[in-house]
Symmetry: C2
Subunit: 189 residues, 2 copies
DNA sequence: CACCTGATGTCAGTCGCTGTCACCACCACT
DNA sequence: AGTGGTGGTGACAGCGACTGACATCAGGTG
């Protein structure tokens, strides 16, 4: 026997997604998510810093993979090539095609609620800053690092949206390659 | 004689900035801002959708100028040239050098508080979306529009940060031209 | 067996924010 | 002059997000 049912965090997360899908983010209280998981509101806030974070804590792991992949890129790669490599690596490991249905559900919840979009956009800023720092650790000057990192986040954002589009079959890394080419084409006419 | 003291909105905004600067965003309640303005908390929330918005409602005007400048760009300009033109126009009219001290104070408040950074990053997303829509209205395909718009927001962000740096003397439009060149250099080695 | 540890429950409290109703100058119209 | 509409405001009650403080309780450790 165990002290408590294990996996409280996971139970809270899946209960939250289920309830948000049914009734929308705003119409669900933290206490309800906790109750649906057999826990109390106070315990919910011990696992997640706030109600929105229950949808975003996985993103921290993605950022970790991304930043580590920057450090693992070939030493002779240019800043942008480094970001391309890291973005490809992180996307391939974190967003396999099996994850697409879950990502669509999650994105549907976010797209329906402005406060969730705020959190999402801030996480993208942090991702960009994390990549820029990792580039600087490789000796890239700050200005180039910030621009290469932000371009990588731009490409990720556009490619990710395309990946979630109904009927889309291509993998996220494939779409990222496509968007990189489009970005270069747009900026150099 | 007037019914009420006019300029309630402006009084709330300047009282808020003063209090935030003294004690930080979190340590100031909406009721205190209202009281310092000779109003009630309820009236504060009639003028601003939430406590953070008191620092961001001016940004809506910037976006309006930006989007209208996209429509006013020369008809033969490429998507990126259109964004460059609009960014230059909006920055010149909305961020003259006289505004730099105020912008520094405001940015200092935002940089010290994560929820404010969330709002700021969401406004940048909206700005990007607004520009992309204006480009599409000019006949630019969606994919190119999104990438050109997002690149413009990237350039604005980097240039704006540089504009606020201590000792920086150059104008925001000048810095934006510089960053555009850097971005092209980073992406096309 | 006593003690420590860590996840949880309980409770009270603050603050952001909202709905509702009343008030009260000013304005327009008759 | 009277009548009614309008819009900014005050007063009040209430909900939900979040926090601090303290108690509980089962398991591991010595």
């Amino acid at each position: 026997m165990v002290r408590w049912e294990p996996g409280a965090r996971d139970r809270l997360r899946s209960a939250a997604i289920e309830l948000f899908t049914e009734r929308g983010f705003e119409a669900v209280t933290a206490a309800e998510i906790a109750e649906a998981s057999g826990l109390t509101e106070r315990t919910f806030f011990r696992h997640f810093a706030d109600k929105r974070e229950v949808l975003f804590d996985g993103q921290n792991f993605f950022q970790t993979v991304f930043v580590e992949s920057v450090a693992a890129a070939p030493a002779d790669a240019s800043p942008v090539q480094t970001v391309e490599f890291a973005l490809h690596t992180a996307a391939a490991s974190f967003f396999p095609d099996e994850r697409r249905p879950y990502s669509r559900v999650r994105q549907g919840i976010i797209d329906a609620n402005a406060p969730l979009q705020e959190r999402e956009s801030l996480k993208m800023v942090w991702l960009s800053q994390g990549i820029a720092e990792a580039l600087q650790a490789r000796g890239v000057p700050e200005a180039q690092a910030a621009l290469a990192a932000q371009s990588g986040v731009t490409v990720f954002g556009v490619a990710f949206t395309r990946w979630l589009a109904p009927g889309e079959q291509r993998s996220l890394p494939d779409l990222q390659r496509e968007v990189w080419d489009e970005l270069r084409g747009v900026l150099t006419p």
